[in-house]
């Protein structure tokens, strides 16, 4: 409990320092979001006003390396670059094989078990097994407690959410969330967002898959739910499709040096999106991804232009 309190306090002070610095609003105005040249853009979690960087780190596939020493060191290296760039949120799940122990290895090696914004999931159809699974996950991560615990892919969500609310009340987690991906179960998710007291929701969103813009993103904004976006690159397929296409000249006006930044800026600039969590196994890609959070985000007119351009060349 006291550890959590200290972490919250530290984050609050960081947020105040950031606000005083004046460069990390991340808000969309007419034109570009204001951001200092070297200031990380962050957005507030509506339920607490705690700010988190608009780019986090996913771990699906990329961190699942088993007990391969080389793979584990590579995960730690990716995490080192992520933290060095100011990143805080790492997201995982029991479904991602050995990703959780790999994250724990990296956190321990980098001395970041106290400062990471830890986001994990509960993924079991047996709701009685939920608490034991979450405790196992916590031990893998080697953290005192998770910041955010989400119900993975709506699995047994009624029962798991009850458990998560209780854990939040007891101070064992700070935020409660629910996730889906690949555009699945949006109607059910909408119902859950309307009826439950969620801090976070997570779903897929990218420049081509924009179904969530119609209902889920506006609903999240209305209900004060923070939004984590998974698959901002369509699991790498968007990057593969675009990597040989020319980046438009006007992308320079929002400091885009490559397609990953272009795609991430599009996602992160939606007013209802709190952060995106691209996954990668390469340190260079982390640096590239994080750079998207250090320069202006596109406004609505620019976002429309981005969509038009990508749809035209693909």
């Amino acid at each position: 409990m006291s550890n959590q309190h200290n972490r919250s306090r530290r984050r609050f002070l960081q947020a105040v320092a950031c606000a005083v610095g004046g460069g990390c609003s991340g808000l969309i105005g007419s034109g570009f979001a204001r951001a200092g040249a070297a200031t990380l853009i962050s957005k507030p979690i509506p339920s607490s006003n705690e700010r988190i960087p608009v780019i986090g780190l996913g771990s699906s596939r990329t961190f699942n390396v088993g007990n391969d020493p080389r793979g584990l060191d590579n995960v730690a290296e990716v995490m080192r670059h992520f933290f060095s760039a100011g990143g805080t949120m790492i997201d995982s799940s029991p479904m991602y094989g050995s990703s959780q122990p790999a994250i724990g290895y990296g956190l321990e090696k980098l001395g970041k078990t106290k400062t990471v914004f830890s986001a994990d999931k509960v993924w079991t159809w047996d709701h009685d097994a939920g608490p034991a699974q979450m405790e196992q996950s916590r031990q893998y991560w080697q953290v005192d407690a998770f910041d955010l615990m989400q119900v993975h892919n709506l699995v047994s969500w009624e029962q798991h959410l009850k458990t998560l609310y209780r854990m939040k009340q007891q101070g064992r987690i700070r935020y409660v969330g629910i996730t889906t991906s690949h555009g699945r179960s949006h109607e059910e998710l909408e119902h859950i967002m309307e009826t439950e007291s969620l801090d976070f929701v997570q779903f897929s969103y990218n420049i081509l898959d924009r179904e969530v813009e119609a209902r889920l993103l506006p609903l999240a904004a209305k209900r004060g739910i923070a939004v984590i976006v998974n698959r901002p690159f369509q699991r790498g397929e968007l990057i593969d499709a675009l990597k040989h296409k020319p980046l438009p000249d006007w992308a320079k006006t929002i400091d885009c040096k490559g397609w990953p930044q272009f795609l991430l800026k599009f996602v992160a600039s939606h007013p209802a999106v709190t952060c995106a969590i691209p996954a990668t196994s390469q340190a260079a890609h982390v640096q590239e991804n994080m750079a998207a959070a250090f320069s202006p985000l596109p406004d609505q007119a620019m976002r429309v232009r981005m969509i038009d351009y990508v749809e035209k060349i693909l």
Binding site: T62, G66, D68, G71, G97, S99, L154, S156
Partner: protein, 194 residues
């Protein structure tokens, strides 16, 4: 409500190609010199199919039983399970196949007769050649490095392929084809999705 039906195969392939093939590299390093024993298995099977001795069917079945059990335990359960959430189920399937091979091949001696049809023998011999002699070199040919090689009796794909070939050569009960065919589909799709 997040039921299993809402998942696709790709949802369960949550490891990269690099991580997958690194498992073979680490595995090969860990089990050396069992590769010599696996080579002996291959030679014995080749000899039994060539010379057709009376003991051939039983011995070949016995070698397959040992191979399927070993792959189930040492690779699928001990190693692949680290990165694949359903690898323990795969291991169970391999043990089941070992049981079937033991029952029909070793106990009932149902792999005693060589297939009458020439196509069966030709196709079987061709597939066996690939499984035993070509498969170990695929890692090298595709530029993954020779340490990531997959070998009959030690790795799942060449073991399954060799088993299918042997079943084609012998007049094997059809039930023995079920799990190898399922594996061939699952593994093929995994390699495709990965």
């Amino acid at each position: 409500m997040g039921g299993l039906a809402s998942y696709r195969l790709s949802d369960f392939i949550l490891f990269s190609e690099t991580a997958y093939y690194r498992q073979f590299e680490l595995y090969n390093q860990a089990i050396w010199p069992l590769h010599l024993l696996a080579t002996l298995f291959s030679l014995l099977i080749g000899y039994a199919l060539w010379k057709k001795p009376a003991w051939g069917g039983r011995v070949v079945s016995g070698l397959l039983v040992v191979s399927w059990c070993w792959v189930a335990w040492a690779f699928l359960y001990q190693r692949f399970n680290q990165i694949h959430v359903v690898a323990d189920m795969y291991a169970l399937g391999f043990v089941l196949q070992a049981g079937c091979l033991a029952w029909y091949g070793v106990i009932k001696n149902r792999l005693a007769l060589v297939a009458a049809s020439r196509p069966g023998i030709v196709v079987g011999a061709g597939v066996l050649f690939i499984a035993l002699l070509i498969y170990p070199f695929i890692a090298l040919i595709t530029g993954r490095g020779w340490l990531q090689f997959e070998m009959f009796a030690l790795a799942p794909d060449p073991t399954v392929l060799a088993t299918l070939a042997i079943l084609l050569v012998y007049k094997a009960p059809k039930i023995l084809f079920v799990i190898p065919v399922i594996w061939a589909i699952v593994s093929g799709m995994t390699l495709l999705v990965m």
